[in-house]
Symmetry: C2
Subunit: 211 residues, 2 copies
C-alpha cells in the first residue's frame, strides 16, 4: 500500500506501532520497506495496547491455527484487536496535522477479513467525517483530511499482483500473527493461510519463509 502511495508521488511519512503484538517482527519488515521506498520519515510508536488486552494478538489467548481458509460465520475472530484501527488512524491524524499532510493511507481490506468491524467502508467513511472536525484544518476549513483505502475491495490475489507490478519485494514483507523469534511464519494462522492462498491464486511464487 505504501508503494501505491509512493507511485502516486506522495511524500511518505510511514508509521508503525509496537502495540504489544505477538508479531513484533513486522516492525523490522516495515522499517526495511520504509528505507527501501525512501520514506521522508519512518516513525515507530510504542502504544501499550497489551495493557488493554482483549485479543489473541495482545493477550494471553491462543492464535487459532488451521490449514483451511477460516470460516467465521459472521463471528468476529479472536485476533480482532479492540478499536485498533481507530487508534492507529488517530495517531496518523495527529502526525498528518503536524507535518501538514492531507492524505492518510491505511491498508484495510474488507474482503478476506470481513469479520473486523474497523475494516468496513462505512466505518472508514465515518472516521473521515470525524477527522475533518477533529483538527485545526477542520476549524479553519482549509485542508480536508482524506482517508485512503486502496486495498479495501481487493482480493489478496489482486493485492499481490498489484504489488508485483509496482516492484515490491515480498520477501521483505511480513503477515504472520504468530511467528518464531527470528521471523519465520507459522503457516497456520489465519493471516498465513490467507497470504498463501493469495500467492497461489495470483500465480506468484511465495517467498515467505515458513517454520
Amino acid at each position: 500500500m505504501t508503494y501505491l502511495a509512493k507511485n502516486q508521488e506522495y511524500a511518505i511519512y510511514s508509521l508503525s506501532f509496537n502495540y504489544g503484538q505477538r508479531h513484533k517482527y513486522e516492525l523490522n519488515a516495515a522499517k526495511k520497506l520504509a528505507y527501501r521506498i525512501g520514506a521522508a520519515k519512518h516513525l515507530v510508536l510504542n502504544i501499550e495496547l497489551d495493557k488493554i488486552g482483549g485479543s489473541a494478538l495482545t493477550d494471553n489467548i491462543d492464535v487459532p491455527k488451521t490449514d483451511k481458509k477460516p470460516e467465521h460465520n459472521n463471528e468476529i475472530p479472536v485476533t480482532y484487536v479492540p478499536a485498533r484501527n481507530t487508534i492507529f488512524l488517530s495517531y496518523a491524524l495527529a502526525w498528518a496535522e503536524v507535518v501538514g499532510a492531507s492524505h492518510i493511507f491505511i491498508g484495510v481490506n474488507a474482503l478476506d477479513y470481513s469479520g473486523y468491524p474497523d475494516c468496513r467502508p462505512e466505518y472508514i467513511k465515518a472516521y473521515e467525517k470525524m477527522a475533518r472536525l477533529a483538527t485545526k484544518t477542520g476549524v479553519e476549513g482549509t485542508t480536508k483530511i482524506k482517508i485512503v483505502t486502496p486495498l479495501i475491495n481487493l482480493t489478496k490475489a489482486e493485492i499481490i499482483k498489484k504489488g508485483i507490478a509496482l516492484g515490491i519485494d515480498y520477501s521483505l514483507t511480513h503477515s504472520c500473527y504468530d511467528p518464531s523469534i527470528d521471523g519465520k511464519a507459522c503457516g497456520l494462522c489465519e493471516s498465513c493461510v490467507l497470504r498463501k492462498k493469495g500467492f497461489l491464486e495470483a500465480g506468484v511464487k511465495d517467498p515467505t519463509i515458513y517454520e
Copy 2:
C-alpha cells in the same frame, strides 16, 4: 467529571495518559482521585505523543504566560495537542469494548477553550457516530456507545460549583500546564488563569498551591 459519573452510579474505569506532557504531575492527581472515588480500575497508559510533537505541551515550545484571561481571536493556541482527544477517546473506546462499557465520559469544555477543535459538540457527535461503527457491538448492533460530555457547555465557575456539591476535594486536582517538579502550579499559564478565575467567580476558596 468522574464524580458526576460516580454520582450516576456507573462503575468507574478511569484512564490517564502519560503522553509526554510537561504536566506529568496530573497523573499523580488522577491516581489519588481514582482511589478516593473507589474506581473499579485505574489505568495509566504511556502513549508517546511527544514523538509526534507539534504542541507547547509536548514539544520544545514555550507555554505562554499571562495574568489576564487569554484572548485567542479565533486562533488555536500553541497548547493545543494535535488530535489528542481523538487519541484519548480511541483508547477509551478500546477499553470500553474489553470491559463491556457503553458510556465514555470526557471532560471537554467548549466555553473557555473554544480554540480547541476537539472540544466542540459537532466533533464529539461525529466521534460517537464513528465509534458506533468501529467495534464489535457496532457490527452486532447491540450496545450503542455513548460519548458523555457533562461539562461541555458549562463555565469554569459552574463546573467548580457542581464539583463542590458532589464533595470534590479540589486540593487533589491539578490543572497547570507547566508546574514545578513537586506539582506547584505556575499561576500564569492559560489553564491556571482560567482555573483561578473559575474559583473567584464561583466564590469558592482556591486550594491550589502556586509557586
